[in-house]
Symmetry: C2
Subunit: 326 residues, 2 copies
DNA sequence: TTGTAGGCGTTATCAA
DNA sequence: TTGATAACGCCTACAA
């Protein structure tokens, strides 16, 4: 009973295998509790059946959904996922990419920090199967699964404009990524089309620790905003902390809306309007695109656009007497 | 310039290496973009610098914290983590353990389903470094990082008893794991010491989908509970769904408390009392124990107990007129 | 101080 | 139908 025979058996290549041998191998495997060593196999086959996933920050709820979705998809293909937190830190992103490549992962799904263009290009150059998720990086031949942020932001702002709001604020994290930029575009476009001037003092891209300070500043304007769009669950939490402390009423004093479906939003008093992005579907799509790339199937290098939907709840609904005291 | 010289360089064994050679190797590496192949190295060294983490369900918030904590710890040791969702499914747990072992991971951190005793024993038998987290499995020589669930549950129930509650409900998922069992013990103990009879109809271990139904049933008792302890964030959400739909007031009609710190709790109206478990610390501890095991350091096979703390908020505070209408 | 040889566990190829 | 051999890329001895 030679190693190669066992290998045949393990890989279910029974074509020419004698019933007798088959049985003997089966018994031996059972008796010795033999388990093939994936590492050796990977070395030989140059395939690890493992993909790397680099997400921005697992503390964002959407990251949880995304990683879960990708893992679910991979489970059916006997693929493993190694999930890494880049923390929106380009250096960590680089380090993780290196580690993952050293580990010979078969492909990568990345929520890019957008500050490693050279790295991204080298991935293309080295023919590493890569899919980007949630954020688009200009001018790279990498398939990217994203939400149409501009469009949905425009809708959101329009919803408020139609209700009579003109002093609308947008607060997001400071990252220079496509999601933020597109949301800015959508925000501006909506205001411009309604001929509402864009006020610098209503738009902020700040660290989480500064969100409350920014709220305080806006509250001291002669015309504080009457509506705030929070760009993520983490931003929303900070805003609510401020609002609660100040005893500000939603939506009577200020209307609220937030990107991402979070439990907090649904059960808040009043319930908070959320912009729901189909991250589970997007994770599945990214995984499926990556599998196609790995299996040398044709994959179009384009944006795979998903529509977000606005789940209107009480927090965003205008009251005639909205005071905009923030 | 032979492979072994390069290997020396890569592994920083400069002892006897000529300045000249060193430089030449460095240049060549730079030029070719050479990266050592971890797979080959792992095969040779029988070390993958990777650990497996099997958690119950990443949709629980505490799982997010735990996996983040473990990853943070490993990052500093150049270790990778492969995180797997067993979904509280023993078969998935088995499959993942097998996959991870085939991948030759150096160690395992598991939130055990508790339904794979043979599997756990075989891990010990095969000398795989393993640490359990969050749940204790009886009679296994595996270091386990857990919260003192019985103690904190007893405290929680006592808090209500002292405030005059006697009709106290406990709702948890149906898993047969130590956390649930210990909480039951704590619950019973507190009631017994106060000579309050234990009512079957107040205690439920059910799937998430049945939580609302259980609430409905309790509301039709002649004496509905005046207080409910939810055993997880997911249970709480279902209870709140029911409560909101019925227009029930918290804590006027029923008092609430929940295991796990969730944003939902802090910002709910009224804010919900949480039982905070130090999962970040526990994750770090589990990772550190595992590293010790991997490095053959002495590790005590015992329960590493952590104290949970109760963050009292309005939802659990008794009103004299608490009607217990549920 | 550097280079050569053997082997880690698997599989592809080819010989028996 | 099964077995021997080489090779995957790296590392450790040991030889040069």
């Amino acid at each position: 009973m030679s190693p190669s025979t066992v290998s045949q058996y393990v890989n279910k290549r029974f074509h020419y295998m004698g019933k007798e041998t088959k049985k003997k191998v089966a018994e031996a495997i059972e008796e010795l509790g033999f388990q093939p060593n994936t590492v050796a196999r990977s070395l030989k086959q140059k395939k690890t059946l493992t993909i790397g996933v680099i997400i921005s920050n697992i503390m964002h709820r959407y990251s949880t959904v995304v990683s879960r979705s990708i893992e679910d998809y991979c489970y059916n293909y006997e693929y493993h996922t190694i999930i890494c937190n880049a923390d929106d830190n380009p250096e960590k992103e680089r380090k993780y990419v290196d580690m993952l490549l050293a580990k010979q992962i078969d492909g990568l799904i990345i929520v890019p920090t957008n500050h490693n263009r050279e790295l991204y290009q080298s991935l293309i150059h080295r023919n590493i199967p890569v899919v980007f998720l949630d954020r688009y990086v200009n001018g790279l031949a990498i398939p990217t699964v994203v939400v149409d942020n501009q469009d949905v932001t425009e809708q959101a702002i329009n919803h408020w404009i139609e209700a009579g709001h003109t002093r609308i604020s947008l607060i997001s994290a400071p990252m220079n990524v496509s999601t933020r930029i597109e949301r800015m575009e959508g925000y501006k476009r909506a205001l411009q089309q309604a001929s509402i001037p864009i006020q610098e003092s209503y738009v902020h891209h700040v660290e989480m620790d500064d969100v409350q300070e920014v709220c305080r500043q806006m509250s001291q304007l002669t015309e504080p905003p009457t509506a705030i769009l929070a760009a993520s669950d983490l931003v929303l939490i900070e805003i609510i902390r401020y609002i609660n402390r100040q005893g500000i009423q939603v939506p009577d004093d200020v209307a609220l809306m937030v990107f991402d479906e979070v439990h907090l939003a649904e059960f808040h008093d009043p319930p908070i309007t959320t912009i729901n992005q189909p991250f589970y579907d997007m994770g599945q799509k990214a995984a499926s695109l990556l599998m196609d790339l790995i299996n040398k199937k044709e994959v179009e290098n384009k944006k795979y656009l998903y529509e977000a939907s606005i789940n209107i709840r009480e927090s965003s609904e205008a009251k005639l007497q909205n005071k905009g005291v923030l």
